[in-house]
């Protein structure tokens, strides 16, 4: 069976999941393998330290912008609630509640 035939069939989403799983496992394992051979420089460490927040900002801003005013207000509400309460469920509820309320108003 060719790759094209596999991707045209019902197994295609599972190929995508397998590709994600492989990519993730390589990330999990490579730090341990690398460290037994080379040392991470302070520059590489700083780059990796900046990564998690950079991913979040780079994902959230364009998606919220694209989704329009209610989504941007929802993101802001989630940020404010999380800063104030440090409680994920409250932040999620505040954010989704804001989106739903503004959409119900026709925005």
């Amino acid at each position: 069976m060719t790759i094209e035939a596999l991707l045209a069939g019902p197994a295609a989403p599972y190929v995508a999941i397998a590709a994600m799983a492989l990519a993730t496992y390589l990330c999990r394992a490579s730090g341990v393998v690398l460290m037994s051979r080379v040392h991470l420089t302070p520059r590489v460490t700083r780059a990796l330290a900046a990564l998690p927040g950079s991913i979040v900002v780079a994902t959230v801003m364009p998606l919220a912008w694209q989704a329009g005013l209610p989504a941007m207000a929802g993101v802001a509400a989630a940020l404010v609630t999380m800063t104030a309460l440090r409680y994920e469920l409250a932040a999620l509820m505040a954010g989704l509640g804001t989106v739903a309320a503004l959409r119900a108003l026709g925005l």
Binding site: V15, G53, A64
Partner: protein, 250 residues
């Protein structure tokens, strides 16, 4: 004693090659599982949110469970939802794998940090151990190891307990989300950016990160406006990394 002499003789302070393998006990595994308890509220909310969002994107139950079970990395699963589609091709699969690798590249740093603890163990044990390594278990493990703990069972216990909770709760979130007939009305279609925004708050470790984050956001917005698809996530993340690497130290 003889090791110390050998090291001195060779003029290096490398760890002796034949160090005894750290223990891996069930007792420590139970301890590790217990240590995850305070983290469960946040993780179950995240898992349920992912499951509900996946239902909104039209994934099947089996796909959601398989993704949570085999990928087991929430942030990358959330981002992958944005790229999820009905029809796949080699380029789209390569794209979802590349985005996953970028989102999970932080794990390279996590693995590197615990390498001295893991390295003396057999490779097969570490290969399995690393599958279950996740942000929360890593954090608990580094604390345990810093306090003198060496038992690899602790890391296994925390990682496996979190895996079970993650898979089970994404399944429940999916079933709940599938009940919602109009996801847009409740804002479930933008659940992912809203939840991610909340996740940003605990990541804030002071103004040193402000510039990388701002660069990441600006580049992502610009790339999104210019290039179709989801390249903006990778471009923004890499720009943020570069800004972090070459930024001035405070």
């Amino acid at each position: 004693m003889s090791d110390a002499l050998t090291n001195r003789a060779y003029g290096c302070n490398r760890v002796a090659p034949r160090m005894s393998s750290p223990p891996c006990t069930l007792r420590a595994a139970a301890h590790g599982a217990r240590l995850t308890l305070p983290l469960l509220p946040g993780i179950t909310v995240f898992a349920a949110a992912f499951g509900a969002a996946a239902a909104g994107k039209g994934m099947t139950f089996a796909q959601v469970v398989a993704m949570s079970g085999f990928v087991y990395a929430g942030a990358s699963q959330m981002v992958a939802l944005e790229l999820w589609r009905d029809v796949w091709s080699l380029p789209t699969i390569a794209a979802v794998a590349a985005v996953t690798a970028v989102v999970n590249a932080r794990m390279i740093l996590m693995g590197a940090a615990i390498q001295p603890w893991l390295a003396p163990a057999p490779v097969s044990r570490n290969a399995l151990q690393l599958f279950f390594l996740t942000d929360a278990s890593w954090l608990l493990g580094t604390r345990y190891n810093a306090e003198g703990g060496r038992d690899h069972g602790m890391l296994f216990g925390a990682g496996i307990a979190l895996w079970v909770v993650w898979v089970a709760t994404t399944a429940l979130g999916y079933l709940a989300g599938a009940l919602v007939t109009d996801p847009r009305r409740f804002g479930l279609d933008v659940l992912m950016p809203v939840f991610f925004a909340a996740m940003l708050v605990p990541l804030w470790k002071g103004p040193r990160l402000a510039r990388p984050w701002a660069v990441a956001g600006a580049v992502a917005l610009a790339v999104k406006a210019l290039v179709p698809g989801y390249l903006f996530i990778i471009a923004g993340a890499l720009a943020g990394m570069a800004a972090g690497a070459f930024g001035r130290d405070d």
